[in-house]
C-alpha cells in the first residue's frame, strides 16, 4: 500500500527535473570545455552557471532519491541509493550515476587539496553520470512509456548529442560566439 501518492508523484517528477538539470549542467560543462561564454560576458560566467545548474540538479536528485526511499511502493532500500551491487540493473544505473555525482561534489569541495590531474580525471569520469541517468530514466521510469517522458528524454539526448558534436568538431570555439 502507498502511504501518500503525492510522494510517489513527487519522486517521479523530481526524477525528470533532475534529468533535465543534469542535462543542462552537462551541456554547460561541454560549453565550458569549449571555452564558450555568453555574448557580452566573461568566460567565468559559463563555469559559474555550470556549477549552479549542477548544484540545483543535486537538490532535485536528493529529493528524488529521498522520496524513493520513503515511498514503500518504490521498494528502494537506503543501501541501494549508494551501493549499486545486488540491485536490479535499471536501479543500479541510477545509483552509479548518483555515486559519480557525489564524487564530483566531494572532489570539488577538496579541489584546492587535490592535484589538478586527479580532479580533472574524476570530473571527466563523472560525465558518465548523464548517460547512466538517461538509461535509468528509460529503464526504471514508471512513465517511460508515456509520450511526454519520451519527448523529454529524446530532447535531452538530442541536445547533448548536438553539443558533443560541436565540441568534437569545433574544439575551443571562438570567445563569445553564440
Amino acid at each position: 500500500m502507498t502511504t501518500a501518492p503525492a510522494v510517489w508523484y513527487l519522486m517521479r517528477a523530481t526524477g525528470v527535473v533532475a534529468l533535465l538539470l543534469t542535462t543542462l549542467s552537462f551541456g554547460l560543462g561541454v560549453a565550458t570545455s569549449n571555452r564558450w561564454y555568453p555574448r557580452g560576458s566573461r568566460r567565468w560566467v559559463t563555469t559559474t552557471l555550470h556549477r549552479n545548474a549542477s548544484l540545483l540538479s543535486v537538490v532535485f536528485l536528493t529529493i528524488h532519491v529521498g522520496t524513493s526511499v520513503v515511498d514503500p511502493d518504490a521498494q528502494v532500500r537506503a543501501l541501494a541509493t549508494f551501493w549499486p551491487f545486488g540491485t536490479p540493473w535499471w536501479l543500479a544505473t541510477g545509483t552509479f550515476s548518483l555515486d559519480l555525482l557525489a564524487a564530483v561534489i566531494v572532489t570539488g569541495l577538496l579541489r584546492n587539496r587535490l592535484s589538478r590531474g586527479l580532479w580533472r580525471t574524476v570530473h571527466w569520469t563523472a560525465y558518465l553520470a548523464w548517460p547512466l541517468a538517461v538509461v535509468h530514466t528509460i529503464g526504471m521510469g514508471t512513465d517511460a512509456h508515456t509520450l511526454w517522458l519520451a519527448g523529454v528524454t529524446v530532447a535531452c539526448i538530442a541536445a547533448i548529442g548536438g553539443l558533443v558534436t560541436w565540441r568534437l568538431t569545433e574544439p575551443a570555439a571562438r570567445a563569445g560566439s553564440a
Binding site: M1, T2, P5, A6, W8, Y9, L10, R12, A13, T14, V16, V17, L20, L21, L24, P38, G40, S41, R42, W44, V45, T48, L49, N52, A53, L56, F60, D73, A74, Q75, V76, R77, L79, A80, G86, T87, P88, W90, L91, G139, M140, G141, T142, D143, A144, T146, W148
Partner: protein, 80 residues
C-alpha cells in the same frame, strides 16, 4: 570598468539561477501532474470494464456512479 562588467555578469548569473530554480519547481509541479494523470488513466476502468465490474461486485455509490477503488501505483522494477 572591470568592476562594472563583473557586477553585470554576477547579476546575469543570479537572474539565470533564480529563473532556473523557479522553472525547476514549476516543472516539478507539471510533471507531477502528468504523472498523476497517467496513474489515473492506468487505474480508471473503461466503460466496458465498469459494466462488468458492476455486474460482479455492484460497487456503486449512492448516486449510481461506480466507485473507483484506489490502486496504489506499482514500480515497474524495484530495488533489492
Amino acid at each position: 570598468m572591470a568592476s562594472e562588467q563583473r557586477q553585470r555578469d554576477q547579476a546575469r548569473i543570479r537572474t539565470f539561477t533564480r529563473r532556473l530554480a523557479y522553472g525547476a519547481v514549476a516543472a516539478t509541479a507539471v510533471f507531477g501532474g502528468l504523472a498523476a494523470v497517467e496513474s489515473q488513466h492506468a487505474t480508471t476502468p473503461t466503460s466496458n470494464e465498469t459494466q462488468q465490474s458492476d455486474d460482479s461486485s455492484s460497487s456503486e455509490s449512492f448516486d449510481g456512479t461506480p466507485t473507483q477503488s484506489f490502486q496504489p501505483p506499482v514500480a515497474q522494477s524495484g530495488g533489492s
